[in-house]
């Protein structure tokens, strides 16, 4: 099943992912509208995280994982083996469930990616660090201790730092795998606020187990079940009047 959006930032075509013999994601065709938030929901093991990770080839790192089908970004099929995955992951950032800052200073966490991509000038790096921290609403909280270890930050701050680290390399797409599931309610609210802010510049795909988070932060929602895309529609439609009974049953807590 595929749904056509008006302005697609990228799209998948017949995308399947296998772990050995097992097909975890089954021929998914989805369009991701430019600068919108798409939430992927579904019970554990439904393939949503596998699908998310295949959007920037993170599954390459999993032994036995194999992708079939296509992911098209800027007229390029990133599933093509010739794709430069380092460049790809600069373009498509990833934020994980648990904050994973480097064991370095706050400043170095942000500057790392930019340096890796060739920026050496101190002033330019300073500007990138400040801009990334401002974008993630962290600047005021950390500007006086940029050289302290990132590990000294709270969990919520660490997660925003990881998002800042992603945006510092100027991606166009951000993938988030349950970015707030390990955080307290206030930190969660800050992440959700941040997502609303970031979508002005980035296309965001978020996997979440929190139904109400999906309802709050996303423009469109996709319901996955047993590797299939069951329903993909405006978030408002999915949460008020989904077409499929299994979608209704899942979001109403009748299974999963």
């Amino acid at each position: 099943m595929s749904t056509v959006a008006t302005r697609a930032a990228f799209y998948t075509k017949d995308l399947s992912v296998y772990y050995g013999e097992k097909q975890a994601v089954k021929k998914i065709g989805m369009e991701f509208p430019d600068r919108e938030v798409v939430a992927l929901i579904g019970p554990s093991g439904c393939g949503k995280s596998t699908f998310l990770r295949s959007l920037n080839r993170m599954n390459d790192l999993i032994p036995g994982a194999r992708i079939e089908g296509e992911v098209w970004i800027n007229d390029q099929n990133i599933c093509d083996p010739r794709t430069d995955v380092v460049q790809l992951r600069q373009q498509i950032g990833m934020v994980w469930q648990r904050p994973n800052p480097f064991h370095k200073s706050i400043y170095e966490n942000i500057a790392f990616g930019a340096r890796y991509h060739g920026i050496k000038d101190k002033k330019a790096l300073d500007a990138i660090v400040e801009q990334a921290l401002r974008k993630t609403a962290l600047w005021d909280e950390v500007k006086d201790r940029l050289n302290q270890s990132a590990l000294a930050l709270s969990g919520g701050q660490q997660q925003r730092l990881c998002i800042a680290r992603s945006v510092a390399v100027r991606p166009s797409i951000l993938l988030m795998d349950e970015p707030a599931s390990a955080l307290d309610p206030v930190s969660t609210a800050k992440i959700e606020e941040l997502i609303a802010e970031l979508k002005k510049e980035y296309t965001i795909v978020i996997v979440t187990h929190n139904m109400h988070q999906a309802a709050r932060v996303s423009d469109r929602t996709a319901f996955f079940f047993l590797g299939d895309l069951v329903e993909y529609d405006d978030t408002r439609t999915i949460f008020t009047n989904p077409s499929r009974k299994s979608t209704d049953d899942y979001i109403s807590g009748r299974f999963g």
Binding site: A215, T240, N241, I251, S252, G253, R254, G256
Partner: protein
Amino acid sequence: MVVRKEFDIGLEQLQQMLVEMGNHVERALAESMEALATLDVERARAIVKEDPKLNQIEEKIADLGAKLIATQQPVAKDLRRILIAFKISSDLERMGDLSVDIAKVVLRLEGQTLVKPLLDLPRMSDMVRVMIQESIRSYIDENVDLAYKMAKDDDQVDALYSQILRELFSLMAENPKTVGQAMYLCFVGRYIERIADHATNIGENVVYLVIGKRPDLNQ
């Protein structure tokens, strides 16, 4: 693990209270029309006295619905189920008020005799009582066809109401002494007609519950 037991119990309670309201309204309409046919003032007073019970159930529905929204964060059909419970209870409460208005007409006609035997008003009220039953039945069974059928019933009620008005206007023109009572009987017709509209609203809410879209059955 799926934890919905308490939620499902709450939804069931909402439905039971709405059915109770529906039964109350149908009874109140039947009794107020009987009181009118015999100008039985005592019976009319009893109907007026019963009305606060209906308001109390409506408040209970509002409280329980608010609690379920706050604690269960319902979505999709569950959410619609609660939203329509608010609306249906409000319709039923108004239907109860209109039945009481008929009983109050009986109180105003105390000591008089009817200027004509009532034929069409009881017939109209019987039709509307069937509509009340149908509205509750369509709600319990989530029967969209029955909800749409009520729109046609409502057209018949409207036609009968127009006929009743014409006859009462003729009566008033022929015999101006009947004007006072005949005006009240016009009001009764109007009250019954409004009850039918509210029953049709309930049908609309049933359609919204089942298919998620709002039809206009009251056109």
